[in-house]
């Protein structure tokens, strides 16, 4: 959670509160003003938070291995168990590769969205 909170909070702090007020004087209710003005502007902060949380969650193998239960088995732990049960098999190698690609894909999508939608269009 703190990894999410920090970027979002700083994004909030950097935003001029009169932007949301301007939206309200133009006829937007509080909720509409938040959706159309505030959210897009703190968007980069939210995405950065998501990205951080994702990276950290993905890396927390040691913690996970102590905490997991039979009902919610993380992919990484399942793979770890497979390794011990069957040794290095082609299927195992493929699964590891897919996990790597998956994490890269998430990263690329998020960076792509932040970069294209926000970094060039917005002045902070």
């Amino acid at each position: 959670m703190p990894y999410m909170l920090r970027p979002v909070l700083s994004a909030f702090n950097e935003m001029d509160p009169s932007l949301e007020e301007a939206a309200r004087t133009l006829g937007a209710g509080r909720w509409r003003a938040f959706l159309t003005v505030t959210l897009p502007l703190i968007g980069p902060g939210v995405l950065a938070g998501l990205l951080l949380s994702f990276i950290i969650g993905f890396n927390e193998f040691t913690v996970i291995i102590f905490l997991y239960g039979p009902k919610n088995l993380p992919a990484s732990v399942w793979l770890w168990n497979m390794l011990f049960m069957y040794g290095i098999t082609p299927q195992f190698a493929a699964a590891v590769a897919i996990m790597q690609l998956l994490s890269f894909a998430v990263l690329f999508v998020l960076v792509g969205v932040i970069g294209r939608r926000y970094l060039q269009g917005v002045v902070f």
Binding site: E21, A23, R24, T25, L26, A28, L41, G121, V123
Partner: protein, 364 residues
């Protein structure tokens, strides 16, 4: 169309009272200015009118309708912010169209009205730019277009020109006055700039520490300031101590005042007993540098010595030591060139008008 009326408005922030029982009334279609130093509560009043701040007491009426509980989005107002508050993630078109989209207008109507609004502020063809790609003055115009495009009943301006340089300010001042005359909307304008207030207003409220010190037309405030604060806030001034000397024989009810070692005609101060001390306001532009010869019938002449002189183009600002006081004098005529470097020179000052702005001892 609607008039705006405020009755007994009080707003506190913690222990400080930002607005202290202010009442005012702006007629339908008039342009009124709240003028005062920063922190005098003028912006807070504007925010209360807009519904962005909640008053602790008092009523706000648009026409006959009490609007205290109406949310900002339903007050049909347009507010031009000091920091403009253009949406940085939207193009100019979307910024201006925002209010119309909130009103769920048709696409064709939005296109048409945004185009008209941008024409009105003289920015056609800028629809696809982002705000950061515009100059300060252009951003100002976009903000203005966004404010007026929804045709609000009441326009509110919160020091919209304070971030601009002097030349742009001059230009946009005229623009705002022109827009007001063209649209005829009730407008309330907040500023700390006296010249700005005078240039655009029908009526000015001078504010100090959360209260209205004086209300009136620019001419009223200049000619008959009700307190030293108002006088000091409007234009440059000399405050000199004086005593009521005698009733003026040529103008019933008016006074002659003994000050700077002579008798000067004064406005105001009616009813002060002869011999009572008072504070006299003499505007630097009301003092003439005169040659020799007899004084005119209503003129008092004081001898002095120039101790400071600044040439400012349209006028020369002098400081003259006279009768133990330093008096500021602004010279606008052709003699301003000769006086541009005149420190040490002996002069004669011609005084024809002054205003009593307070009874009691001088405040310096």
């Amino acid at each position: 169309m609607a008039s705006v009326k405020i009755e007994g408005l009080i707003k506190r922030f913690g222990k400080t009272v930002a607005v202290d029982a202010v009442s005012l009334q702006v007629a339908d279609g008039a342009l009124a200015t709240l003028l005062g130093p920063s922190g005098c509560g003028k912006t807070t009043i504007l925010r209360c009118i807009a519904g962005l701040a909640e008053p602790d007491a008092g009523g706000i009426y648009f026409g006959d309708r009490l609007v205290n509980d109406v949310p900002t989005s339903h007050r049909r107002i347009g507010l031009l912010f000091q920091r403009l508050a253009l949406f940085p993630h939207m193009r100019v078109f979307d910024n201006v169209a925002f209010g119309l989209r909130m009103q769920k207008r048709s696409r064709a109507e939005i296109d048409e009205r945004v185009r008209k609004a941008l024409d009105l502020v003289r920015l056609p063809g800028f629809e696809q730019r982002y705000p950061r790609q515009l100059s300060g003055g252009q951003q100002q115009r976009v903000a203005l277009a966004r404010t007026i495009v929804t045709e609000p009943e009441i326009l509110l301006f919160d020091e919209p020109l304070s971030s601009l340089d002097a030349k742009l300010r001059e230009e946009l001042k005229t623009e705002i006055r022109r827009l007001h005359l063209e649209t005829g909307k009730t407008t309330i304008y907040v500023t700390h700039d006296q010249a700005e207030a005078f240039a655009i207003s029908d009526k000015v409220y001078v504010m100090n520490e959360g209260r209205v010190e004086q209300e009136g037309t620019p001419l009223d405030l200049y000619v008959k300031p009700a307190s030293p604060f108002v006088a000091a806030f409007i234009g440059a001034n000399n405050f000199v101590p004086g005593t009521a000397a005698a009733p003026d024989p040529s103008r019933p009810g008016a006074l002659l005042v003994e000050a700077l070692g002579c008798r000067i005609r004064a406005e105001g101060g009616a009813g002060l007993p002869v011999g009572s001390p008072l504070v006299l306001l003499i505007r630097p532009e009301d003092i003439a540098i005169r040659g020799g010869g007899e004084p005119g019938p209503d003129e008092a002449v004081v001898r002095g010595r120039i101790t400071g002189s600044t040439f400012a183009g349209a006028h020369t600002a002098l400081e003259v030591e006279a009768a133990g006081h330093t008096v500021k004098v602004s010279v606008y005529g052709p003699e301003r060139f000769a006086l541009a470097r005149s420190v040490g020179q002996e002069v004669r000052l011609g005084l024809t008008r002054s205003t009593v702005v307070g009874a009691g001892a001088a405040r310096g």
